[in-house]
Symmetry: C3
Subunit: 366 residues, 3 copies
């Protein structure tokens, strides 16, 4: 950590997008299946510890569990089990030194807890829109629009989140659907017998309704698991919707974006209400995060870029999400200072904006 610029080492971080922490002990298969976006370990492809992220777990998390750096994966997992999930989660999530978490509780299996449980820091809710739709649609298609609005009116969440990328892709018609269209879509959905919200009309309706209420909307973009099709998650596909929603003046925050992070930066530059991050990618690429973050920061205004871990299930991912981000941000700023592209006060301002000030402004925190 000694390579960190002081203004990054001491930087307050608001994690504006993450998930819950799994509180149960894991065997090797269980651990690996949560490590990356792969659903399970491939017998054809060796172990998922053979990856940038797997190396980072052994390199950085091992020492926090009193192992030498880069102890073998089996030793790491044995030590993890002997300490127990509660102790490991407390140690690793605390070590992330994150001041506040915005947590998407949309996918929340048994045994999950919010990360703030382990740190005593503050936790705020992000409402997953598709989950909301799935919760209220059983009441019937005709009342579906009203039920969605009621839920949004009374939510305590600071933001909403759309996973349209996973369900219908991002090539959304920008028009606000009429209630009649929404009811018809809910009708089709109920008739299909599926519990899963996977209808473009409903996805658009949810985004518009959230923005109407001044709720910033986070949108999954790019990198994720095998349920998505990457070229349908190009943020550029959202352009018409971004044009249509710009007059509302409510933030739309593009999450992850890898490998479309340059395209996302362009959108954040030209649309006043668009913000971006490279969460998930940062720890996924681990020791290579400096290049990815530098690319992401090419054209995006520094007032439009946010920090997130997108950590899910494994406490390691909170810690590594924060660590790889801090190292990459420090490298970015150090490189600029070294060639006198900006002064120390500029570096400090950029760090502050990205670490927490942008999140505070976007989500109107405190």
């Amino acid at each position: 950590m000694d390579r960190l610029l002081p203004c990054v080492g001491a930087l307050r971080l608001v994690d504006h997008h993450c998930h819950g922490v799994l509180g149960v002990d894991l065997d090797r298969a269980g651990f690996e299946s949560n490590l990356t976006e792969a659903g399970s370990v491939s017998p054809l492809g060796t172990s998922l510890f053979d990856s940038s992220l797997g190396l980072a777990v052994r390199r950085w998390c091992g020492p926090l569990l009193d192992l030498p750096p880069l102890a073998p994966a089996d030793e790491y997992l044995a030590r993890r089990r002997s300490l127990g999930a509660a102790e490991v989660n407390r140690t690793l999530v605390s070590a992330a030194e994150i001041s506040m978490f915005l947590v998407d509780r949309g996918l929340w299996p048994e045994g999950f807890a919010g990360p703030a449980v382990f740190t005593g820091s503050r936790e705020l809710a992000v409402l997953r829109l598709e989950r909301l739709a799935e919760d209220v649609v059983p009441a019937g298609a005709s009342v579906f629009p009203a039920r969605v609005r009621e839920a949004l009116n009374s939510t305590g969440a600071v933001a909403a989140k759309s996973i349209a990328a996973y369900r219908v892709g991002l090539d959304l018609d920008p028009a606000r659907p009429s209630d009649a269209e929404v009811v018809a879509a809910a009708d089709r959905w109920l008739a299909s017998g599926s519990g899963r919200c996977a209808d473009a009309v409903i996805s658009r309706f949810l985004v518009w309704e959230a923005l109407d209420r001044g709720l910033p909307v986070q949108v999954h973009v790019g990198y994720g698991d095998a349920d998505l099709t990457l070229h349908r998650c190009d943020p550029s596909l959202l352009t018409d919707l971004l044009r249509a929603t710009e007059p509302l003046g409510v933030p739309v925050v593009l999450l992850h974006n890898y490998p479309f992070h340059r395209t996302a930066g362009y959108l954040a530059q030209v649309f006043p209400h668009v913000f971006v991050d490279v969460g998930l990618a940062t720890h996924a690429v681990a020791h290579q995060a400096s290049r990815v973050l530098a690319e992401a920061l090419e054209v995006v205004p520094f007032g439009k870029f946010l920090f997130s871990t997108d950590a899910y299930a494994l406490a390691e991912l909170y810690y590594l999400g924060a660590l790889t981000f801090r190292r990459a941000l420090s490298d970015f700023l150090s490189a600029g200072l070294r060639e006198h592209a900006f002064a120390l006060a500029d570096a400090e301002r950029i760090a502050r904006l990205i670490g927490w000030e942008n999140a505070q402004r976007v989500y109107r925190l405190e």
Copy 2:
């Protein structure tokens, strides 16, 4: 500047694609709205000085106006106003040390002047095709093809330029449209009452007619303002049109290209008449230009890559366009020399080709 290789520091530069310089004094909002591709400053996103480009203005342009490097933005703008636009424009455009400008006069608000006014260097015209169409279509649909041809026959321009990317996207039918199709399209356009050329048949017609007359055609690709949709500006969408126009043997020059600059480089490698640049991106990413330029130079033959600033309105952008390009090119060549990938004579040849020889050959200058 002392890090520049001598062969780059003394390099003659032909800016094969830029715009006019604004001759009026600007307040902060006016300056920022011309600084990046954002239409205006976002109240949600701090200042556009919080960007790589904003830092570069303070770092590099400030000292030319007798300020210390990285003086605050407000000081910079106050100094700029106290000197007056004429003096600032002369100072900054001259400092770019560009030997010749090819200027697109298609967007030329009141108060614009050609950059050569400030330097005494030579200026040649690039004819914006959509603007030509907009100028001649009021004469009537039936005479539209003939009027376009007459104008192209008598143009003093050294190249034509298409902004089809902005108007209809780059996924153009490659076929040369018949006059009957063009007249029908002009008819529809006139009936629409719009003054704006936004018809794919007409875009194709304009490109074909310019190439028929041996006029190299510059095509806007990739990065630009919020009027375009980035995935519709992927240069690969032009592939069929490039195949169809290859037999004419007239250059097609893909402009900007970011973030599709690798795809553009591929097209320049495999199509004999295709050339590329990374104008606009170079100063937009500012101190990070070395990586973008290096990527752009991965597979493109060095005989197919050109320098441009794509500067518009602000004199800062001519200076920074040339400065960031020179630094990035020098970094590229120095890195190659350092690992003995090529010899000094090779570096000098690459610099010469990219700086001006390719432009001279493509546009038959002198």
Copy 3:
């Protein structure tokens, strides 16, 4: 070569995808037309020696022919001719130090020889599926499915290869076509009089039939010559087919991938049967291969990445394919070691997996 880590300098390499070596002497035009993916030298664009690859030929291959590094192109070509193709091929292919070649014999003009002829190493066959279809379709549409199956049943090849990217693009319907559909497609093909397999139904049929027999299928993706359209060669377009074929548990290997190598890495992470390489790009970008390889290795598990040259015709490309790969891999590993991202044993394991172990597992070699 002295910058290579010992574990890379001594690394066994299995080239899992390459072509034949041309045994005839070449003039400058003949040499240049085989050097890059350009079909011929452009009079508009100087020489193809003005490229990263052209410089690498002069830098690295010259000294193996007893010329000083970076001797002029004409000297290099004169020396090449005076030694004769047989001697040059033996020298350069041997210098690649490749232990085993998997050779696609689908495009095999007169004068071609397998690379192992020059080295005494082992050579295995990859069956080009479109070539197989072209060979058997003249027997008639009704027997086409059976003839394809017979050929696949009796092939001695260790893998099949699809060039659907070139013929129909990668946006393939994932469904296994029925025999009736295949016969109808073969009928249409025969009626067209074309000798060329360019039908999506047949492409899909060939891939499914190969996988059914446990034959790993290599798929051309991304970078290639002017016959392809790059955006139709995005590996993400294969997602539905990858989902559909996953249950078979037979490897699908995405070749080249540039500039979509990050997308390919994502697919290799989330689909258990998907593997990737950056063959062709490695020597095409030459001294810049380190960045491309590092990007390709961001999210791909190290158990899913393979080495290939994709060398075709020129012996230089085998040597440079191996050399640029070794240097780039060594740079990747050295950078990680330098910042203690992993230990030497990890670096050695990653090198071994990528150099030959993954190929051995995927193709069940030995």
